[in-house]
Amino acid sequence: MSLRYDAIVLGAGIVGAACALELARGGLRVAVVERDAVGSGATAAGMGHIVAMDDSPAQFALTSYSQTLWAALAAELPPAVEYQRCGTIWVAADDDEMAEVQRKLLFYAARGIAAEVLDAQALADAEPNLKRPLAGGLLVTADAVLYPPTAAGYLLQEAKKLNAVLMLGRTVIEAGDGRVKLDHGSTLHSPIMINATGALAPDLMPGLAVRKRKGHLIITDRYPGYLRHQLVELGYLKSAHASTADSVAFNVQPRMTGQLLIGSSRQFDAEERGVDRAIVSRMIDRACDYMPGLASLSAIRVWSGFRAATPDKLPLIGPTDDPTLFLATGHEGLGITTSLATAKLLADQLLNRDPAIPFGPYLPSRLASGQVTQSPPAMDAVHA
């Protein structure tokens, strides 16, 4: 087996898988190195929401571009990926939040995203298990959900058809200067190495501005028809939580099996693996505020995972100071959504193609130069 490749992707999560496929389609000979199983990091831990996020122009550009890419791919995705255009409802509990609904509607409408305001009755009709009364919500019909590990698996399977090589069970010890050193002793060579290791990215690049942001989810047994849309609360606007404190938000997602995913939680400086019962308790409390019936559903499993968070909530897509090393990480809770666009933008940079959207806002160099300010707390995304 040759040890030289045109590109080596570090990490077979959904971002790495998307990058591998895009580069393989561009004619490159690609290797993907993964220490565990395909999609076993944040890809396994997250919900799998595909959402057009409006919390900043750059975030919107990336997520809506990527959402379009997913929609174009939908017909080819095998059933195991469970792609479902169920839509998102942003739930408003009071008049202030309904004002936010109107603001979001205008924002989406100006950009061609179909959205519909639901009043209290329409919200109750759309989701009968929500508590009443709530003020209403915004239904965004193009949003979708899927099951991330098999989505990553599908992308890699397609990459392998284009002769990409997948190396599972291999840990990268060092990456730089065109060389990737693996734990069992061998070294791979490539002029292009892409760090797509998510929250573990700083292990290979000390000092990288990516922090672990812990999240939890609960999955229930099957209750077909209980929930029809992805539901996210707008209540974070009033929350006392700054963007760096522990926080929970109401966020539930239906799976095609009829199981519900209940989230979400966010914590910095919580680096231990394992379920944090205190924050799970708060998360359930919040969820039951909106959907009281959740309390009596059967919970099969609870788990935690680490999102890769950057200071300005935008991912790192592009070159580093090392001309052979590139980044595709820092996606926080939007990795599933933006994986396809990330791959496109990175490939555009590497292959000198015209990008569909400007990639400037996502360049890693923006952080080094100090051009980035912390975004205000109210803009903290609350989706899982």
């Binding site: 047994d221 099957r222 099996t257 059967s298």
Partner: protein, 80 residues
């Protein structure tokens, strides 16, 4: 001496002993506990509350492990 009680399995009344588990009552009623996710008929496998194959709705509560529950008067059991 255990009492004789009447309960309902899929709407049909049956009479069983109060020492009877709901799983056994379902069998006595000639029914299977549940249908699997791909449509297969299923019944108890482990008999001790571990396999979850004996699940049915008991008095409105879904996903109840019937091998762990004793029958009670007027209990309503619905198989899937």
């Amino acid at each position: 001496m255990p009492d004789s009680i009447q309960m309902f399995v899929d709407g049909a009344p049956i009479t069983v002993s109060s020492a009877c588990t709901v799983a056994s009552a379902i069998a006595i009623a000639g029914r299977n506990c549940r249908t699997s996710v791909s449509g297969e008929p299923r019944g108890p496998l482990c008999g001790m509350g571990i396999c979850f194959e004996c699940r049915a709705m008991v008095n409105g509560k879904q996903h109840t492990r019937t091998c762990l529950i004793l029958c009670e008067p007027a209990m309503e059991v619905v198989t899937t």
